[in-house]
Amino acid sequence: MTSTPRTSGRHAAPRRHRWIWPTALALVVAVVTALLGTGGTYALWNGTASTSASTVRSATATITTGPLSAMNTSVLGPGGGVTGTFTVRNTGSIPLTMRVATTSTNVAYATNATPTAVLGELSLHLAVVGSTADCRTGLSGASGRLAAFDTGSGSFTLTAGASAVGCVEMDLDADAPQTVAGAVTDFTLTVTGTQVSA
């Protein structure tokens, strides 16, 4: 009977990952160095002096938005438009850049058309005017379909304490189908004032 000698023995592990340890060590050193850098420096010299008392206040960013005037006192026909105005005031202490966007819509009494079809025929225009009396159809300004209206940031800027009058014009397309007749559309505009970046 013969036997084959068992082959045994240990081989040294391959040295494929030997770079990990230096890399980790370098990271640890770098992090420790950075953390040490955040600490104060120390000196033996010391002295004190007082400044006069002062108060530091945080700035505020607030706005108030007035109601949008009734826009259903007259009705929309093909190619027609109605207007309404609202005021927005920067009641904070820093300049704000304004953005106006539609944030909700609701279509009612559309007996022969879907709400989507009604909204697809309505366009909204926004212009900043000097007073409510200056608001009329045909002014230039941001425009878009009602449901997707968004001026984007920077529509206009209000300094602290300043106010503006927004002139909103809603138009019905001249080629709007008669199926949208009688529809009533409620909508909400959201005005966002953002701190003017330095």
């Binding site: 109601p67 009688g182 009533v184 505009l189």
Partner: protein, 297 residues
């Protein structure tokens, strides 16, 4: 990747983390507010009134009719009202063609009477073909048109024309759809002609056809389109005719030219009834420097 390269890369990563992480976190402050409103899309609509009152039976005693027609914008959008007329199939187009129409806008139905003069903005035609009574109307507003219908002498007797007036109000590309109102135009049975006899221009004799009426029935002779002016003494069937001289025709009726003579039955009080027993034409003219009359037109 060489060992040296890996070491350098590790160093750079560490440096990037340290430097990048040391910057301050920041954000811009903002505030929001909302505002809302509502818009309403209008509707078109139309309504028509007055047509049913326009039904008329023309006769020798009813030679014209004047009636108001009210066009209403029943929608919520301002628009333009337009009309057409049509004769219902099966009724007499010939009669509708023989009835002339003049229509003009008035301030209200009360301003449309038989004595009202034709106003500005009038349109003319027949009930078979009448130009549009075009009117711009605010939402909910109405316009009244006065119509005066007069059958021509060629209108067929014993006929009926069923006429429809069709109204549409448009606002831009939108239309109310057609709203129709109908009425009837009728003509009575043909009136027998009078028998006329000339007498050298000095006078004429007009005789009515004999009938089964009692001989003592009284008759009157009336002149003009409206047959309202008696022009000769009343007569009975015993005599059976009227003698009419030029001087008996009032200047308010005519001073020259053709004059329509209508013979009607009188009631017990001597007033004319609606029964016409005959019509015919005589003509006033000048002869030997004097007024003369003859039979016919």
């Amino acid at each position: 990747m060489s060992r040296r390269l890996r070491t350098v890369l590790a160093g750079l990563l560490a440096l990037a983390f340290v430097v990048g992480g040391s910057s301050a976190a920041w954000a811009l402050w903002s505030a929001t507010g909302t505002t809302a409103s509502s818009v309403t899309i209008g509707k078109t609509g139309a309504s028509l009134t007055g047509t049913s009152d326009m039904t008329t039976t023309f006769s020798s005693s009813v030679t014209s009719t004047t009636k108001p027609l009210t066009l209403t914008n029943a929608g919520s959008l301002a628009g333009t009202a337009t009309t057409t007329v049509s004769v219902v199939s099966g009724s007499s187009t010939a009669l509708a063609q023989a009835v002339s129409v003049v229509a003009w806008p008035v301030t209200g139905t009360a301003a449309c009477t038989a004595s009202t003069s034709v106003g500005t903005g009038s349109v003319s035609g027949t009930w078979a073909s009448l130009p549009s009574l075009t009117t711009k109307l605010a939402a909910g507003a109405s316009a009244v048109w006065c119509t005066r219908s007069t059958p021509s002498s060629s209108a067929p007797a014993s006929s009926t024309a069923n006429v429809n007036v069709n109204l549409t109000v448009t606002a831009g590309t939108w239309s109310s759809g057609v709203v129709s109102g109908g009425f009837y135009l009728n003509t009575s049975a043909a009136t027998p002609a009078l028998t006329c006899t000339d007498h050298s221009g000095n006078y004429v004799e007009v005789a009515w056809a004999t009938s089964s009426r009692p001989k003592d029935t009284w008759y009157g002779a009336y002149a003009g389109r409206d047959a309202s002016t008696m022009v000769a003494p009343k007569q009975q069937d015993y005599y059976g005719r009227f003698t009419i001289a030029p001087s008996q025709i009032p200047a308010s009726v005519a001073t020259s030219g053709p004059v329509l003579i209508t013979v009607k039955i009188l009631d017990s009080a001597g007033n004319p009834t609606s029964t016409v027993v005959g019509t015919g034409q005589i003509t006033l003219f000048t002869q030997n420097d004097g007024a003369a009359v003859r039979c016919g037109a």
